[in-house]
Amino acid sequence: MSAQAPTADLFRSERMRRRRIVNWIVEGAATVAALLAVAVLVIVVGSVVSRGWGALNLDFFTKTPALYSGFGPRPASGIANAIIGTLIIIGIALLMALPVGILTAIYLNELAPRRLAGVLTLAFDVLNGIPAIVLGIFVFVFVVVGHGQAAWKASFALAILMVPMIARSTQEVLALVPVSMREASLALGAAKWRTTLSVVLPQAVGGIVTGATLATARAAGETAPLLFTSALYSDSISYDPRQPVASIPMFIFTSAEQADPVLHQQAWGAAAVLIGIILIASLIARWFADRSVRRLKGER
């Protein structure tokens, strides 16, 4: 520990001081940026909950929108038709997207030659980047023009968004299934298809559930694909997927354009419901994802 003088000098030099100050400023700015993002989230969710809270009562979930002439007491009004419509649209979209997504993941992970799998994955990634409004326009010119709007057409547009998400998260879990399990099954004489469907796939259920819930959460809030496929609906409850049906995002979109403060409060209420659905779905997805990855990585 002798002749350390130069080191001590270095630390006191003007240059070192400047470098440390710059470092300190950047670290501070990075922390502030992260706080800013969290603050924006708190502000947005806070305004939705505080303004929407007053609208959330039993009538809101069980009644349909009531016309108000402007005289006398306001009739009770709610968004039951939009809630049921969203359930119908999302349910059909899930029915369309789930098998395609799972089979895609099986093909890309278990069956396809590497090269081809790369090209097909690229196609899904590019498809995933096409704006939702363009998907809406596509479904509009493909099946709506000349035939009219319908709930299942909105589901079709949403399913295009959902397939890549489901395929991706299924693939991620399929890749974690140990090769030894496949080999064991094949060695016992099981055919490839039998091995894939009854040995490999059950291991990936967690990934499938994760992908399906995340895709549902995203699709439930999408408005752009509905504009041209299921926007001209009536205010009564409809269960017919061949007719356009109401939906929570469309209700928020159209109510926000009105000047009526009561409609605004209902729009906030609907937004709170939507965020609640998305929050719960994300938590479920996270829980399933953690569990299945832990099980496959840590052998239980």
Binding site: V22, A30, A33, V44, P131, I133, V134, E222, A256
Partner: protein, 324 residues
């Protein structure tokens, strides 16, 4: 030798392996068909959209891109010039604000934050990405818009009014500046979460080496982390830009939907995606529908190019990591 053994070892076993299994063939064909939907849909979307836009493309040609009109001359003249302007201004404006913030957030989460803070903050920022655009738009009209008109706008106009972009005072809640802020909120979570993963993938030896040479944390970031992640950051920014360009709902709610080109951000305008969304209640004539779809063609071409570029960069970067 028993019969069973003979069956398992003799030429019969080889035959068995090569035997045609209908189950395998069915699974193969069905799964392959599913995996092809990506390519098929891309082709189908392109074809359908081009076909429907064809009348407008024939009538206006590329002049559509440089004409500022929507339904002028008794619904016979349409053009995208002001929408392209609005799209460029709002998207790049948002990207300009979001880039430093997103990089800073990614640095905070990957380099600075203790583990427990990271485990709380990272999911919160992902939650910001999960908020539906229609809800952000609602917040944009009813909360952000009045704030821009009442506080932020007059303030910026008063202090920086000599800049063309702040040269007028906002008069209504909807304007391009509000759209930029909403888009910023939408792309920050996307860019920052991609960058966080990129920064986390920088080899620890490189960072340790720089630290051992006496570099401060910022110098490590500037000299090691950024250069290493450069291509990936570019891809993340392209993906963020693509998101901003394609966002229809939140923008149409706050931008004011006017066919106009103004240098001041406190004026109303419109973007390509937002114009399409604004016309959902029905177009009057076949030409108007074709022109609307023409706007979608522009968006489609842009998003195909941008996403292909971003994905190719991402793949190249990922390939490099595998080789290491």
């Amino acid at each position: 030798m028993s019969v069973a053994q003979e069956r398992a070892t003799g030429p019969a076993a080889l035959q068995r392996r090569g035997r045609f299994r209908p189950g395998d063939a069915i699974l193969y064909v069905v799964a392959c068909a599913a995996a092809l939907t990506g390519v098929v849909l891309l082709a189908l979307i392109t074809r359908e959209v081009l076909t429907e836009a064809w009348p407008a493309m024939q009538k206006f040609g590329l002049g559509f891109l440089t004409t500022q009109a929507w339904g002028d001359h008794h619904n016979t003249l349409f053009g995208a010039k002001s929408f392209i302007y609005g799209t460029v201004v709002t998207s790049f404006g948002a990207l300009l604000i979001a880039t430093p913030i997103s990089l800073a957030i990614a640095l905070f989460l990957s380099e600075l934050a203790p583990r427990w803070i990271r485990r709380v903050v990272a999911p919160l920022i992902e939650l910001l990405a999960a908020i539906p655009s229609v809800v952000l738009g609602l917040w944009g009209i009813l909360v952000l818009g009045p704030f821009v008109t009442g506080t932020l706008g007059p303030g910026l106009h008063g202090t920086l009014g000599w800049l063309p972009i702040f040269s007028t005072e906002p008069t209504v809640g909807s304007n391009m500046f509000a759209a930029i802020l909403i888009l910023t909120v939408m792309i920050i979570p996307i860019v920052s979460s991609i960058c966080r993963e990129l920064f986390a993938s920088v080899p620890q030896e490189l960072k340790d080496g720089a630290l051992a040479l006496g570099a401060t944390r910022w110098e490590v970031v500037r000299g090691v982390v950024f250069p290493y992640a450069r291509a990936g950051i570019a891809a993340a920014l392209i993906l963020g830009l693509g998101r901003a360009v394609g966002e229809a709902i939140a923008v149409t709610q706050v931008i004011g939907s006017r066919v106009a080109i103004n240098s001041s951000l406190f004026e109303q305008g419109d973007t390509l995606a937002s114009r399409i969304a604004g016309q959902y209640q029905g177009a009057d004539t076949a030409l108007q529908i074709a022109s609307l779809v023409y706007l979608a063609v522009i968006l489609l071409v842009f998003s195909l190019i941008a996403n292909l570029a971003a994905q190719l960069i991402v793949r190249r970067v990922a390939g490099r990591h595998q080789i290491r």
